[in-house]
Symmetry: C2
Subunit: 118 residues, 2 copies
């Protein structure tokens, strides 16, 4: 089974090279791209998404960044609120998981099907 | 032949679910996502990319927007400077073309290959 579409985005899973986005679709998609428009958040998302088992403990995410722990927490909150990651507390630690359905939707919007306007 | 990778981005064409982005890759990718993080720019890009022949006259792009022509021009400039569209003046009008290679690269970065951390 393929990834589910994030809630409220069902009608957005269309390559933008196929048909123009309407104003409403663009309003719903833009905040996700904006959330990806920060290098720290991109790195955090890639660390989480590529981590073994598809999830990463927050304790795995602070090394290698030249920013403070509160800054990391802020960026994780932005990713969570927009639905690009989910989080779960288990014992001492919070674990983050990439929402593959959200990634897949954004990837589809930007995809260039072969033969389109080539 | 598939799309060429935008200049200086050759090493970024990897799904972020496959391996973590390094700081340098994230710094180069983030501005493109940031440029997509605005609903007017998303709509303009989709209008251009989906237009017949893969290009659109600036005269095709001003209808349907509730913003001024200078605002449209500003957003087109942002898209052009980041390399998501190119432009060419022919006679009276400027024509915009979506850079499919840039779209394809960003789509690949967000893509979720089947079986990854599923």
């Amino acid at each position: 089974m393929g990834p589910l579409t994030p809630v409220g985005m069902d009608d957005c899973r269309v390559p933008l090279v196929n048909e123009p986005l309407n104003a409403d679709q663009a309003e719903r998609l833009a905040p996700s791209f904006k959330a990806l428009g920060d290098p720290i958040r991109l790195r955090l998302l890639s660390l989480i998404a590529s981590h073994q088992g598809g999830e990463a403990c927050v304790c795995d995410l602070t090394d290698g960044f030249d920013v403070s722990a509160p800054t990391i927490s802020h960026h994780l909150k932005v990713l969570r609120e927009i639905g690009l990651v989910s989080s779960e507390r288990r014992g001492t630690w919070v674990y983050y998981r990439a929402e593959q359905s959200a990634l897949d939707l954004l990837s589809t919007v930007l995809s260039v099907p072969q033969g389109v306007n080539a």
